[in-house]
């Protein structure tokens, strides 16, 4: 038993590492094949005045003249030792650049996810409970409408109303100049981006919860639970929600990257100094080393979330977990 667990963990780690390798190779090639001049991000406008000799020297210095494979192997060798190179644009180690921005994105994405997760669960359960009565119908219509609005457009709309129109909230950044340590100032800056992140994803998951619950409500075991004398609400929240949870959690885990992708767009629109804006810039300005790490980071998050989804499923649904132990028990009881 113990050996089989170790084995399955080993396989998962192996798959994880191989996937990261493939991803890194793919991003490496695609980034370099894409049109654009990486020297611009390093030297700025000076590139335009460079002589061919200077250019060659500069390219040589950044290691861009070698064949792709050589470049990749060199990158890999260093990466394995923890050296991911420097950012062309920021002229400092990539890891440092990312570390500076990571907190902002984690804050936006993390709080956003929690709000989406909790809110969708509440909203979905409420709709299921009120099935086909007016609150449910109203929410269904409003939600569908809301989730169809693209993030960037909603962002612009909110900026227009709350930042330009009534001037209650700041339109960009993570804090006012000089207000880095001020918690209140941070929160005020977070409101608009967070609203967009939550609003644009909330209904999708709430609707999922609602429909999953309604599917469960029609199951036979609900009838039995009600025959036992449980009130409808108790059946809904105790039995149905529990049965719906594995699906919800696993879909949620899988969709974390999706939500993060949303925050990337929102970050860009609100010029919020997080990984989103950083990724966008690094891709736009051919900041190869930075782009590599950001892509690998996103890729790792996606894969870890999928693994988490699987683990959650196994943990909650005894049928998946029990595949093996259940059979043993069945054999034990003649």
């Amino acid at each position: 038993m113990k050996r089989s667990i170790l084995r399955s963990i080993g396989i998962k780690v192996l798959v994880f590492v191989v996937s990261l390798l493939i991803l890194s190779a793919a991003v490496f090639c695609v980034a370099r094949l894409a049109p654009g001049d990486p020297l611009v991000s390093y030297y700025g406008d000076r590139v335009e005045k460079m002589s061919p000799q200077e250019r060659a020297w500069a390219e040589d210095k950044l290691g861009l003249n070698d064949p792709l494979t050589v470049q990749y192997v060199r990158w890999l060798e260093r990466a394995v030792q923890g050296d991911f190179g420097i950012s062309y644009q920021y002229k400092m180690p990539v890891t440092e650049v990312i570390a500076q921005r990571m907190g902002n994105t984690l804050l936006l994405g993390g709080v956003g996810l929690l709000l989406i997760f909790g809110g969708a669960l509440l909203l979905g359960s409420f709709c299921a409970w009120q099935e086909d009565r007016w609150p449910d119908r109203l929410l269904c219509r409003a939600g569908t409408l809301l989730s169809c609005i693209p993030e960037f457009w909603l962002s612009l709309l909110l900026i227009l109303v709350f930042a330009m129109g009534i001037r209650w909230l700041p339109s960009s950044g993570a804090y006012s100049i000089g207000g880095e340590g001020n918690v209140g100032d941070r929160l005020v800056h977070l409101i608009l981006p967070l609203t967009v992140v939550v609003l644009s994803h909330l209904w999708y998951y709430a609707y999922l919860v609602r429909n999953r619950l309604l599917e469960e409500v029609r199951a036979d075991y609900v009838l039995l639970a009600r025959v036992k004398g449980l009130p409808r609400r108790a059946v809904l929240f105790r039995h149905c929600l529990r049965s719906a949870m594995p699906t919800y959690l696993s879909i949620l885990a899988i969709s974390i990257p999706h939500v993060l992708g949303g925050t990337y767009i929102v970050e860009t629109v609100f010029s919020y100094p997080g990984l989103g804006t950083l990724s966008y810039e690094s891709a736009r300005y051919q900041d190869y080393n930075l782009l590599m790490v950001l892509c690998l980071l996103s890729g790792a998050v996606v894969m870890l979330c999928n693994l988490a989804a699987q683990a959650i499923n196994e943990r909650i649904d005894p049928r998946i977990r029990g595949e093996r132990s259940g059979m043993e028990q069945e054999v034990r009881t003649p």
């Binding site: 086909d132 199951a219 036979d220 075991y221 009838l223 039995l224 639970a225 009600r226 025959v227 036992k228 004398g229 449980l230 009130p231 409808r232 105790r238 039995h239 529990r242 049965s243 909650i316 649904d317 005894p318 049928r319 029990g322 259940g326 028990q329 069945e330 009881t333």
Partner: protein
């Protein structure tokens, strides 16, 4: 003696986009303490709807335009969801057709039985609760209950699951148990076990039981009284003896004739010709008329009332009208014949 359950002129309709379905039409019956009443009929004749309408477990599209339901003399027809929740499990309970889907797959059997116990005795302590769960599991014939209460439904076989469902249904000591085709989804040997179990528990606890089935063999095994339903109506009702040995309704004749036991050695099994009527547009007159070889002209005009044959035996067929010429029934042949 006052009946535990009395249903008077109950009608159940479903409002669907294509019209109103008359699922149960003017059904009256009573159930006494410690009695097993079997409701027999083909699929779709309204047996299950009848049970569920008494427990008020029908979907929102269902309406009860007429009828009264009396439980221990109390009219519960107008009860709302809150009052019904208090009655369910305690006053009446139900066992379903498919034990494969009737249990919550994510909860252990023990926890699900415990939940049923706790609904009615919320203050019960941990040890007492455990004791009660073990007691219930023993009652329904689950061996080594202490070991098995921690298992999940998917660890159980169909028969064991049906026993667990029964344990949950009995947790609140209900006065009336509805068994809605409890053996249909099980294989034959298990069917007999579950039927015997039902009968044994019913004798032990004195629970009045409404046993819904389309299996006349099962009826003979457990029922005290039998009600035959056709197209949402009770067409014949009487003691098991009366219905089996002195059936009066042509539909009951047809049902009994199609029992495989009665055509042993023959090439084919007798069947009732035709199909049950569409309850969305029930035909005029007797709904069974078009399948009835003994149909009279009046059958196509007017629905027959329930004619009394004895004090306990009633049948709804014009054949019992004194003006109708005598017909020799193809089956039965007298109570003591």
């Amino acid at each position: 003696m006052e009946p535990v359950l009395e249903v008077r002129h109950l009608t159940v309709q479903f409002h669907t986009p294509s019209g109103t379905v008359q699922a149960v039409r003017d059904v009256s019956f009573s159930l006494h303490k410690g009695e097993v009443l079997a409701i027999v009929g083909e699929s779709g004749c309204g047996k299950s709807v009848l049970c569920r309408s008494i427990l008020k477990l029908l979907p929102d599209t269902a309406r009860l335009p007429s009828g009264t339901i009396l439980v221990n003399g109390v009219d519960i027809t107008g009860y709302g969801e809150r009052e019904m929740t208090k009655l369910r499990g305690k006053l009446f309970s139900m066992v379903f057709q498919d034990p494969m889907t009737a249990l919550d797959p994510t909860m252990t059997i023990g926890a699900q039985i415990a939940e049923a116990v706790r609904v009615h005795q919320p203050r019960m302590g941990r040890d007492a609760l455990r004791q009660r769960v073990l007691e219930l599991m023993t009652l329904v014939g689950i061996e080594r209950p202490a070991e098995r209460m921690g298992l999940y439904p998917h660890n159980f076989s169909g028969g064991m699951r049906q026993r667990s469902v029964l344990a949950m249904a009995l947790a609140g000591d209900p006065a009336i148990l509805f068994a809605d085709e409890p053996t249909t989804a099980l294989d034959v040997t298990i069917q007999a076990q579950i039927l015997d179990l039902l009968r044994q528990i019913q004798r032990q606890l004195g629970t009045a039981t409404v046993f819904v089935t389309h299996d006349l063999g099962a009826v003979a095994r457990v029922a005290d009284r039998v009600a035959v339903m056709y197209a949402g109506k009770i067409v014949e009702i009487g003691t098991a003896e009366e219905v089996f040995y002195d059936p009066r309704h042509p539909y009951t004749w047809g049902l009994l004739q199609s029992l495989p036991v009665l055509s042993r050695g023959r090439e084919t099994l007798p069947t009732i010709p035709g199909m049950p009527p569409d309850l969305l547009h029930p035909p005029k007159g007797d709904t069974f008329a078009c399948r009835n070889p003994y149909a009279l002209a009046i059958d196509y005009e007017e629905e027959p009332p329930l004619f009394p044959i004895t004090e306990t035996h009633f049948a709804a067929t014009w054949l019992l009208d004194p003006r109708t010429p005598q017909v020799t029934p193809p089956v039965g042949g007298g109570l003591h014949g």
